[in-house]
Symmetry: C2
Subunit: 451 residues, 2 copies
């Protein structure tokens, strides 16, 4: 809602100017005074330091008295505090720190420096016979997620199958300011700038061309890579397909009068009536508004593990199912407690709530919107997945002005925003199908060019 | 911005219905299972319990590592964390808890039960000679403020002067859910419902008619009392004059074309250009959006004193001067550290961040807007004060559809949102002038009726 508004105010009235050249983007150094030009790739291991865990346990066990929820309010005023003691006790007493850090280290972790910033990543390479081609897939997570979102999907994505003449190598970095990647000390590192960082990152790893997949911020950044560097992206798959362009929003609003012009009958309820969808978006995007404007005001309070859990898990609840707001437990049993706490641990041990939240402020601002990259079309073959409970649905009619080669949009009649995390099977099938289609599409294009 | 939007979406499209009768309002019991029907008035003393202070000091001194601000960002990303160590050290080591609690207890505090809820208040009665009439003034604070806002103004407001044939008795309650007043456990206690609570509160104290003054929420609630119970309000003064009505906003937007139809030349810059005022409002109201929708998600994190200070003081910075956002220290030296920390202590010791924040959610919602009380006119004599840096300026042309007896609007060329707190002298003069004018107005009306 917030950036939609900004867009209406600015993009229509003031117009659109791309302000930075590709060269300027490439040369940006985000490391500030601590920048490293070391481009070697080193191993990295996640650690839950004793002292950090001890401090965390102290904070959990010495939390202040919680304010009881209002009567019968479920999650309608936010995280229901009657649920917090169970969560906090589980985190302190049942969550097995030693086992979980081993779990998180099951994949090989690496770190390298790109544009002066240390970037952490997982790389999982399948072993294949000579007749199988290995193709690189850049997997980008979002907020308040992490590489942990992909843990269950990685074995499925990288599996070798006799049905396919290719196998996928997964490269899953932590976004700058998130988890184990460095945060910048300089203003201006938004989604567009991260797109350049990840293009350079992939090049540094030896990939001149690759596939991209992402949801949430990962989807935005992937879309930016496809827009700025169409030649390096073999195909772009997202489960958070948004075209922030005047035409797209105009199409949406025009469809209020005649929905069938905009979307198939079966999914019109994801867009209309506007009197349902717009107020829902307004009600659920307060976090986005605050983080887009005052991330540093909010950050210090997240030294409270109870507060961080409440803040982050309410978003997992809201974004997973519309009906969760009316459930006493917020419907969080869609995930295991270990899944959600592993992800929280990544924020906690790296103390990265503030730096990660700044991505909103660095992206949803005037400078970024005026550059016009959001609305610039890309010809990269694009495949979108639409889960039922995704926060925003955009139909092909709304997406095509941005993604001119939209080769497929898969509609799911269930599932939520954290698709890979919640449904690793469905997610992996979907992504593998998309990569197959991208390969077919490219093969056909190449043949046509030969003829 | 948020409620403006809601209003546009709802009030225009759906229309306006008043759903509760005055009788139903009067009978509402907000005490829930703990309701008390004891209507006696008892003394109350603020205490800083040793254990609470000890716990606070531990939390301050064992805060987590702060995230450094981005280079040269001042307060543009929110509270600049380079400022936090000084603030936290001052709170822990220089702020004199024993002296300050004595300071807070300098006025006599009371408590009584209204509609089942314990209401805390100050009452300061001037000693006068027989030719001076004592008139009651209900002083209502806002968020994130408290009765502490009025401490410096109270002696000035209650002073007896030979220039006046009246003297003011101040009654300053803590709003329900704020400070030392009880919080409800039941959904639905918004600004409109608080208006009834305070009408009943004043009646219980023996005042059938009184003056009302307030800014921020105090202004809203005062406006609601004047709307629902015009016969009990002798005059309404506010330094936060807002008419949330379609006509008022339509006037504002229409004025974008021809500002002089809406406001005097000297204050047009407080309304226009919309491309300045609307984005400013959007940028500064993330807290309002989040608290209007998910107060319970945010609340638990405020067990961090560093977080609570950062969150609350950034709002004092922003709302006091437009230019504070570009100052490294946020311009907070407009207030003494004791002023700001006293106010924080009231939130801290009562653990009332969550319950007070809920007022946003209970007010800026569909139910409340559909009742139409916001847009219902009141004939109560009204006097508005407009400081230069107030978050929103509404000219008489915008206010008159709501306040049909707007007898004066004072323009100040300086000062901010916390007028009484920042400028007790100017504030008190202004309020006393208004009460004089209300008395003259009533005397004239009575005379006219007699003739």
């Amino acid at each position: 809602m917030y950036f939609l508004l900004k867009f209406v105010v600015y993009a229509f009235v003031v117009g659109v100017v791309a302000s930075l050249t590709i060269e300027e983007r490439d040369e940006a150094n985000w490391g500030g005074d601590n920048a490293s030009s070391d481009t070697s790739i080193t191993n990295f291991t996640i650690e839950f330091e004793d002292e950090v865990v001890k401090d965390l346990l102290y904070r959990i066990n010495n939390r202040r008295k919680l304010t009881p929820p209002l009567k019968d309010s479920a999650f309608t005023y936010g995280f229901n505090s009657d649920q917090l003691p169970d969560w906090m006790n589980y985190w302190a007493n049942t969550y097995n720190f030693a086992e979980r850090v081993q779990y998180l280290n099951q994949y090989t972790h690496y770190k390298t420096y790109v544009q002066g910033l240390g970037i952490h990543f997982l790389r999982v390479t399948p072993e294949v016979s000579s007749d199988v081609e290995v193709v690189p897939l850049l997997l980008l997570h979002g907020w308040p997620g992490s590489v942990r979102e992909f843990y269950d999907a990685i074995p499925l994505l990288t599996a070798v199958s006799s049905d396919r003449d290719f196998a996928v190598e997964v490269i899953a970095p932590s976004l700058p300011g998130f988890g184990f990647s460095d945060a910048t000390s300089i203003q201006g590192l938004g989604a567009t700038e991260m797109a350049t960082v990840f293009k350079n990152f992939m090049k540094q790893l030896g990939y001149n061309q690759f596939y991209v997949q992402g949801g949430d911020w990962g989807g935005f950044i992937g879309s930016m890579i496809a827009t700025l560097y169409p030649d390096v992206v073999l195909g772009y798959h997202t489960n958070f397909a948004i075209a922030i362009s005047p035409l797209s929003f105009a199409t949406w609003f025009a469809g209020a009068v005649s929905p069938s012009l905009v979307a198939d009958t079966s999914v019109q309820d994801r867009l209309y009536p506007l009197l349902t969808t717009l107020p829902w978006m307004m009600r659920e995007t307060g976090y986005l508004h605050l983080q887009s404007t005052k991330p540093d005001t909010l950050g210090p309070a997240m030294e409270s593990p109870t507060g961080m859990l409440s803040y982050i898990l309410q978003l997992f609840s809201m974004s997973s199912r519309r009906e969760n707001v009316d459930k006493t437990d917020g419907g969080l049993d869609l995930f295991t407690k270990e899944q959600l706490l592993d992800n929280l641990m990544i924020y906690w041990i790296t103390n990265s709530f503030t730096t990660s939240s700044r991505l909103y402020a660095e992206t949803f601002n005037t400078r970024n919107l005026l550059e016009g990259i959001w609305a610039t079309p890309t010809s990269v073959p694009t495949w979108t997945a639409h889960t039922k409970h995704e926060m925003i649905y955009m139909s092909p009619a709304m997406l095509k002005s941005k993604f001119t080669n939209l080769i497929n949009s898969t509609i799911f009649d269930d599932y939520g925003h954290f698709f890979a995390f919640e449904q690793p099977d469905e997610y992996s099938n979907e992504v593998l199908n998309a990569i197959s289609a991208f390969r077919d599409y490219r093969a056909k294009s190449d043949t046509c060019q030969l003829i």
